[in-house]
Amino acid sequence: MSRRWIYLAMTGLAVFFLFPLVFMFVSSLKPDGQILSDVGGWRAFLPVGDISFRNYAGVFERVPVGRFLLNSLLVTTVIVGAGLVINSMAGFAISRMRWTGRRVVLSVVIATLIVPFETIAVPMVYWVSQLPTLLFQNGRLVYDFGWLDTYEVQIIPFIANGFSVFLFAQYFSTIPAAIDEAARIDGAGWFTIYRKIAVPLSGPAFATVAILTFLPAWNQYLWPSMVVQDENLRPVMVGMQYFFQDTTAWGEIMAYTSMITLPVLVVFLAFQRAFVSSVAASGVKG
């Protein structure tokens, strides 16, 4: 293939992949009437005419979008942060230590890899609605049942992740075993070896797992739409349901979707190298 044809093909494909997003950002700045009248030509992709942030102001008036963003940020941060600690510890114990029970644990972890969340979503609603919980009511600690409508229900089931454990185990097994032995002779405990030796040497593994768990946590939709009815606890994707029925206020819809897409896009563009190598790492399990 000649170089010119390759560039031509890639440019055409770039237009195909970008046009909906460009249209979304540009339309979020226009009044509804103008979005529809611009649709017939190039103006659909250009920020021209009556440009303003009125749609964004409208979104803030209509739904508590700040609250939704905060909820998603909280849920995502805890899932990713706690997941890094718990899954890396498990990966360490599986790959670097020899103990009875190791094989059992490893096969449990591997078995979880083939269960897509969709298969357990319905029984899980039933399950979490029966789980015990402690809560503060009028200054007293009360014992109750049911996790529906809480932050816990959005966070705790997603912290442990078999695939993350697997990736950590794989990475830790590349660190020479002689380091552990030397540290053991010096009297270091296993947790110290994990914290002082394995973790500092494994930056890339932590980056990979953080990226691979960040996206699904931020994009959670099916699960919170089933277990969170309380508006104050909703994440951004479920918050968008306000606009599903009303399919006329397209300017505001585009403003809302732009607002929740932009942060992820900025993070992606800033760390695109790390994203690309994380996805490549996720392919090794084949």
Partner: protein, 295 residues
């Protein structure tokens, strides 16, 4: 001394894996078992009557008395049958393009990947707008056909709704598989291509005799992951069509959630989820079979 060491190693091993193992047990293994058990009951989320075992009633109902389930199963297979080859093939073409040693290849790789980091919920609502009768897609076709086209409601027509959803699903996810293919391409030693060129192989022969055979492990992985994801189609349906018009876009997972959660028939919904799980297990077993000689 050695025995004490072994004991401390075992204790540390259990302690360090305990948080992850307990959470996986509580929120993955238990729900799987619970789902299996509930499939044989008439459990409801809020029920005046106690739950009782009903044997295979839920499965009999699904396969004989629920036409929407049958339609959903067919739609799910139709979706997977189109998406799997199209997305895998398109992803490979993209990977080969961005693997060329030319300036700007990295920038194109980033652009092709952007839809992947965009939430599928956002993508669904955005494309729903594009597919409107007076939306961007219709007016584009109108322009290139010099006005011969008069808008159609892609998502409201049972004949086009599923196809319309296939297009945006591929658009959103293909960049991911481009990267998987790309990492496969980059493991092929350059010497193989040099040897092929010395033997007089053109670019098609190089692809057929070097690239394609070397990509076998990648190929199995890509096909399996796309198949499992395609069988789980849910969000696009929920946001764009709610299974309509006349069940033409209802899928297995969508129907399971509709019955199990929205209509609160947990037992029946669990049975439908179990059907989905069995399909996924079959696909996973096929994968094991295809990669048996490497393990």
């Amino acid at each position: 001394m050695i025995r004490a060491d072994l004991r401390s190693e075992r204790r540390a091993g259990w302690a360090m894996t305990a948080p992850a193992v307990l959470l996986l047990l509580a929120f993955l293994i238990v729900p799987v078992i619970l789902g299996f058990v509930l499939s044989f009951t008439n459990a409801r989320l809020i029920s005046p009557e106690p739950t009782s075992f009903t044997g295979f009633d839920n499965f009999v109902r699904a396969f004989t008395a629920d036409p929407t389930f049958f339609r959903s199963l067919l739609n799910t297979f139709a979706f997977a049958a189109v998406v799997v080859p199209v997305q895998a093939g398109f992803g490979l073409v993209l990977a080969i393009l961005v693997n060329q040693k030319i300036r700007g290849a990295v920038a194109f790789r980033v652009i092709f990947f952007i839809p992947v980091v965009t939430s599928i919920v956002v993508v669904s609502i955005l494309w729903k707008f594009l597919y409107q009768p007076d939306g961007l897609i219709n007016s584009f076709i109108d322009t290139i056909s010099f006005g011969a086209w008069h808008g159609m409601a892609w998502l409201n027509d049972p004949g086009t709704a599923l196809t319309a959803i296939i297009v945006l699903s591929v658009w959103q996810a293909v960049g991911f598989h481009m990267l998987i293919w790309l990492s496969g391409l980059q493991t092929i030693p350059e010497e193989l291509y040099e040897a092929a060129r010395i033997d007089g192989a053109g670019s098609w022969r190089q692809f057929r005799d070097v690239t394609w055979p070397c990509l076998r492990p990648t190929r199995v992985f890509v096909l399996i992951t796309i198949t499992i994801a395609a069988l789980g189609l849910f969000v696009q349906i929920d946001v764009m069509t709610q299974g309509g018009p006349v069940d033409s876009t209802s899928t297995l997972v969508y129907h399971a959630v509709r019955m199990g959660y929205r209509q609160q028939q947990i037992g029946y919904g669990s049975a439908l989820s179990l059907v989905f799980f069995v399909l996924v297990l079959i696909v996973a077993l096929v994968q094991r079979y295809l990669t048996r000689d490497e393990a």
